[in-house]
């Protein structure tokens, strides 16, 4: 645990990517299996411990600490895991210090009721940094500034391999990855990933701004609609069929309708939608489906799943990813004509003659029920990740609303001393404010400081970490769409809300009415 704790501690304070890579690489080189494999799993977000919850940690520390001193300490530190780690009464030597593998493997076996006792025993044995790392590990979200991709890049350079090679194997391997490390250290051949219905890493697009469009040589690109669903990969291999989200999460069980009667061996890239007779339904209907792990037959009938195909990666065992997009497109069209699978269709290519037309199509996107356009370089192979210069997404403009700040909450990690999470509302006809959404982003660090000060100066009530403020600050909030929602008092939910501008100048009374948002429902 000690090495893992030290690694996390260094990563938290290291701003530079190249240095983070070195720190992770050094850890892999120093620490034996299986600890380093579990660390890799933790850094790539592959570990969850459903039995460990923040409330449990709080209960454990409150049993051991004067409540007044706990409260003052928590106020000072601003982060529960760190407060608990620092406050935990030292009992060094009480128990043996646990290793990372021991912690992970024990927790995976343990029943929910055993977790508090196990945890308390380990916390007794560890030093403060070890306790902090343990609590971060089990509550998920390490927040040490390392993405899954960065961890894999560090792994690739540790083993002198290409990151793509690791990506390709990744979804066929399981923690603690002993076979992967053996290969990277030259002690064993590349692990055999069983021929199975595996996720293949997706190719992603870079956003394109209006101003950048004119510089793009349109003749080298093919255009498609960007459909308003979620990216998905369908894998069919020897009768086994799976559906993966963009990140490789298996979402197949929620879409049995799509996966039944598959009569082919292929890996397909497409947009998952709810559609009726080929007409996509608004995004919130898909959300209803995504929310049910095991949908009823009735829901499958009322909200039928649909896959709109973008690309063909593997056809009957033949890997097409090295082919150009135009070549793959031709193969996809031929494949589709041959199989005509139910609940699937092709995402049509859009003919775009010139830049002006491209911009017009994008402006009209909102009325045609699409999110915008995709531009894919005709000569590009299918590359994992977000490579530069190949694919672009040209999204429709965001909608905006002037809303009134109602509540603010302390952030996490770097923002734990700042009120950085904002709930904002719109005016009802009765002249009261009703919350319509929450946003955490869209402002600079200096704006954040000013917002934080505004919150502190205008607090009217406190509920734990949340401050209620007087209705005096208008936030211009950008969002992608308005959806009806029965879960919210306002009756609506905003999609991807973020703060576009802070209207320090605008009186709260002039902010938008709820009615205006209701009229925007997609």
């Amino acid at each position: 645990m000690r090495d893992f704790a030290e690694l996390l501690d260094r990563l938290v304070f290291t701003p530079r990517r190249s240095i983070k890579l070195r720190l992770i690489g050094d850890y892999f080189a120093r620490v034996p299996d299986p600890d380093r494999g579990w660390a890799l799993a933790a850094l790539t977000g592959g570990l969850t411990f459903p039995g460990a919850k923040p409330a449990m940690i709080r209960a454990l520390i409150e049993e051991r600490c004067d409540p007044v001193l706990f409260r003052w300490s928590y106020d000072y530190v601003g982060d529960l895991a760190e407060t608990a780690a620092l406050l935990w009464p030292e009992r060094r030597g009480a128990n043996r210090e646990p290793g990372l593998a021991e912690v992970v493997e024990t927790l995976q076996e343990a029943g929910r009721t055993e977790v508090p006792t196990l945890l308390a025993g380990w916390l007794d044995a560890l030093d403060p940094t070890g306790r902090w790392a343990l609590l971060k590990l089990i509550t998920g979200g390490l927040r040490v500034g390392v993405s899954e991709r960065l961890a894999k890049t560090a792994l690739a350079s540790f083993g002198g391999q290409d990151a793509g090679a690791i990506e390709e194997l990744w979804h066929g391997l399981r923690p603690p990855y002993d076979d992967l490390f053996a290969w990277l250290e030259g002690r064993a051949p590349q692990p055999e990933v069983a021929e199975a219905a595996l996720f293949r890493p997706l190719m992603l697009a870079h956003p394109l701004e209006e101003a950048e469009v004119d510089a793009l040589p349109l003749g080298e690109f093919l255009a498609e609609w960007k459909w308003d669903g979620i990216r998905a990969q369908l894998v069919a291999h020897k009768g086994e069929c799976r559906l993966f989200s963009r990140t490789g999460e298996d979402i197949g069980p929620a879409f049995p309708d799509l996966l039944q009667n598959i009569g082919f061996d292929a890996v397909l890239d497409g947009e998952l939608l709810v559609a009726r007779e080929g007409a996509p339904a608004p995004f919130n209907e898909l959300q209803t489906r995504l929310g049910r792990k095991a949908p009823t037959a009735k829901l499958q009938r009322s909200h039928p799943a649909h896959l709109r195909l973008y690309d063909l990666l593997i056809d009957a065992g033949e890997d097409l990813r090295h082919l150009t997009f135009s070549e793959r497109r031709a193969r996809l069209e031929a494949w589709y004509a041959r199989h005509r699978p139910a609940l699937m269709d092709l995402s049509e290519l859009v003919v775009v003659e010139n830049h002006a037309e491209l911009k017009r199509l994008r402006r009209e996107a909102r009325t045609s029920g699409v999110e915008g356009l995709m531009l894919k370089r005709a000569a590009s192979p299918y590359l994992a990740g977000r490579p530069k210069g190949h694919w672009y997404k040209f999204k429709r403009d965001a909608l905006t609303v002037d809303a009134v700040l109602m509540y603010a909450q302390r952030g996490h990690g770097r923002r734990s001393s700042l009120f950085s999470d904002y709930t904002f509302g719109a005016w009802t006809e009765e002249g009261t404010l009703v919350p319509i959404g929450k946003a955490y982003s869209g402002f600079t660090d200096s704006e954040l400081k000013r917002l934080d000060k505004w919150v502190r100066d205008h607090t009217v009530d406190r509920f734990g970490p949340v401050r209620a403020v007087e209705p005096g600050l208008v936030l211009e909030v950008a969002f992608d769409a308005v959806q009806p929602s029965s879960r919210h008092k306002s009756g609506i939910a905003l999609r991807f809300p973020r703060i576009a501008r802070i209207r320090w100048d605008k009186p709260a009374g002039e902010a938008d009415p709820l009615e205006r948002l209701r009229a925007m429902i997609a």
Partner: protein
């Protein structure tokens, strides 16, 4: 031991500082006075311009190094444990373990014994005499780190982390921010103890006090001027005052990695605000456990708490059955704050 002679009647906070009336002297006054007893050389305790100064010989040497003629008109060295009568009051100085020459002031009058701790710590420190417990009736304690989240790890463990980082990044200069009196010298001694025998490079502001420590018999190993160094000092360790870490001065070094040695580094959020890439939790102040241990050991039924998080320590002391109150002294903690904006 009469009630009228209770220290709250003769040891009081005044605009110029804590004043002992029967002995007619101030302890660590923050404005010039006729007679001052000074606990240690940090600028928020030892100020220039007093007429007479009573302190340990080491503290007086530090004040002379910092203030020259302004250290005081008459300097009266008082070795540890030596008794001095000031009127009817007896005063002696006892090691506080904070920095070289740091002392607690033991004041006896009317059957009462008051100990003013100044700043102190209980962790071992090779550069100064260790804190001694003096049982007393009233203990006046500092409270810089008086929250239970502050628990300083062993300092040699922190130095080991520094050396591991030097191993890992040999092409970078490790630049450690450490306060110029006490922390810098302790860090150097700890590095030597951990086996680092190469020269350590110093910011100019640290040179006089390091020299003074050496003259006082504290061996700090080979030291060089960082400013005059010809190479970019890749793989070397440079010690500088914290204020220099954000300075153009550090651009001369090889991709400097900034470390910061301070008790405030315990809380990650604080350490991040400070911008340190390698926070080292090394403190010359008592942490929570040391504070509470000390309060128990001196056995004083009454505790006065000065600068820091007074309320938490007062809450704890009352829970232990002690009488406890805050003693608001002006101008304390500023030296630490210089180090940490």
């Amino acid at each position: 031991m009469s009630r009228e002679a209770h220290p709250e009647n003769w040891l009081q906070v005044t605009p110029r500082g804590l004043y002992c009336r029967p002995g007619d002297f101030f302890i660590d006054p923050h404005r010039p006075v006729e007679r001052a007893v000074v606990t240690h050389g940090h600028a928020d305790h030892a100020r220039p311009g007093n007429a007479a100064v009573i302190a340990t010989p080491q503290t007086l040497a530090i004040m002379q190094a910092r203030y020259g003629e302004r250290a005081g008109a008459v300097l009266h060295p008082l070795a540890y444990h030596q008794r001095l009568s000031l009127g009817p009051v007896t005063v002696r100085l006892v090691p506080a373990g904070h920095v070289l020459g740091s002392a607690q002031v033991v004041i006896e009058w009317g059957g009462w014994r008051v100990v003013v701790s100044g700043d102190y710590k209980r962790q071992p420190d090779p550069t100064c005499a260790a804190f001694e417990v003096v049982p007393c009736d009233v203990f006046v304690t500092e409270a810089t780190f008086a929250l239970p989240v502050f628990r300083h790890p062993p300092a040699d463990e922190e130095v080991r982390r520094l050396l591991h980082s030097v191993d890992l990044f040999p092409e970078r200069t490790h630049l450690v921010g450490a306060y110029s009196l006490g922390k810098a010298q302790r860090l150097l001694a700890l590095l030597r103890h951990a086996g680092w025998d190469r020269p350590v490079y110093l910011h100019g502001a640290l040179e006089p006090l390091c020299q003074l420590y050496e003259e006082q018999g504290v061996d700090l190993g080979p030291l060089r001027s960082a400013t005059r160094a010809e190479a970019d000092l890749a793989g070397d360790i440079v010690v500088a005052p914290p204020s220099a870490l954000a300075d153009r001065w550090l651009r001369r070094f090889a991709d400097p990695l900034t470390a910061m040695a301070s008790g405030w580094m315990r809380v990650r959020q604080r350490a991040r605000q400070r911008g340190a890439e390698l926070p080292l939790v090394i403190s010359d102040h008592a942490d929570w456990d040391e504070l509470t241990q000390t309060l128990r050991e001196v056995g004083a039924p009454e505790v006065w708490v000065t600068h820091g998080s007074e309320e938490a320590l007062i809450h704890w002391a009352r829970g232990e059955g002690m009488r406890a109150r805050a003693l608001s002294l002006i101008g304390r903690g500023e030296e630490e704050q210089d180090a940490l904006p």
